[in-house]
């Protein structure tokens, strides 16, 4: 079912973590633990929703410089296979409701490994421009094309 990666839009991070799979799974799936590592300190993370089943809501918030908590990830779990796999996207919200923003689908896999856990994060992106950033700033549709065209013009000139 998983199709080959698109090198322009996808990335894969793999790591052997020297700890039992159950410990890595717990760090991912228990909100109080998840909050400890999802966002780099000193920014703080708050898990608003982590409903670990297909269609379950996945919502995190971020607080920077001690400020108010602001939206970070607003998405939906697509698959949750205990100890094995977590798939989420921000193109849907809880209950499969279409989201305003769509940027990523991530597939996190946890495999047994002689040294511990073989952990992989595979992220598929919608397009090669940070659409979220664009929407936060209220840009009009099609800005990605403009950026691409400009980049091309700049390259031609060089």
């Amino acid at each position: 079912m998983i199709r080959p990666p698109n090198p322009d839009l996808d990335l894969t991070i793999s790591r052997i973590i020297k700890a039992p799979r159950s410990a890595v799974w717990r760090a991912w799936t228990e909100p109080r633990r998840f909050e400890q590592w999802w966002i780099p300190a000193p920014a703080r993370c708050k898990v608003v929703a982590m409903e670990l089943s297909p269609a379950g809501s996945f919502v995190t918030q971020i607080s920077e410089n001690g400020g108010a908590f602001m939206p970070h990830v607003s998405g939906c779990f697509l698959a949750v296979d205990s100890l094995e796999r977590i798939v989420f996207t921000d193109s849907l919200l809880g209950g499969w409701r279409p989201s305003e923003q769509s940027f990523i689908t991530a597939v996190i896999t946890f495999k047994e490994h002689p040294s511990g856990t073989d952990y992989t994060a595979y992220a598929m992106h919608k397009n090669n421009a940070d659409r979220k950033m664009h929407e936060e700033m209220g840009f009009y549709e099609g800005w990605g094309t403009v950026t691409e065209q400009l980049a091309k013009l700049v390259e031609q000139q060089a």
Binding site: R15, I17, A27, Y119, A121, M137, W143, A151
Partner: protein, 114 residues
């Protein structure tokens, strides 16, 4: 990383305006004087100059004065930042994986001590 994001922000902000996009599009074809750049726009020169200053402040263009003519040139570097967005995403996921690993390892150590 913060600096990198600031640069991206300023690029995207500069691109948010149609006049500035048009100016960048024109400069992508080669350097041009401010009067040549201003010609297609139905806009008072001081207003147009504000856009030029905005682009210059955000590092997207450079201007130089040759006698009485001010010429604008596009600056390539900021666009490389936009193109490198996948690297940014990779860095974010690398960071997350690093922190997850550290967190789990620390937790394991705690448990072994008990």
């Amino acid at each position: 990383m913060a600096q990198y994001h600031e640069q991206l922000d300023s690029v995207f902000q500069a691109l948010a305006d149609p006049t500035r996009r048009a100016v960048l599009g024109r400069l992508g074809q080669g350097p041009a004087s401010i009067s040549d750049l201003a010609r297609p726009f139905d806009m008072a020169l001081p207003s147009f100059l504000k856009h030029i200053h905005y682009l210059e402040d955000s590092g997207l263009i450079q201007t130089r004065k040759d006698g009485r003519v001010r010429t604008c040139v596009i600056e390539k570097k900021p666009f490389a930042a936009v193109e490198a967005w996948l690297d940014t995403q990779r860095a974010i996921w690398e960071g997350r994986t690093d922190r997850l690993e550290r967190y789990v390892m620390a937790e394991q150590e705690q448990e072994h001590k008990k």
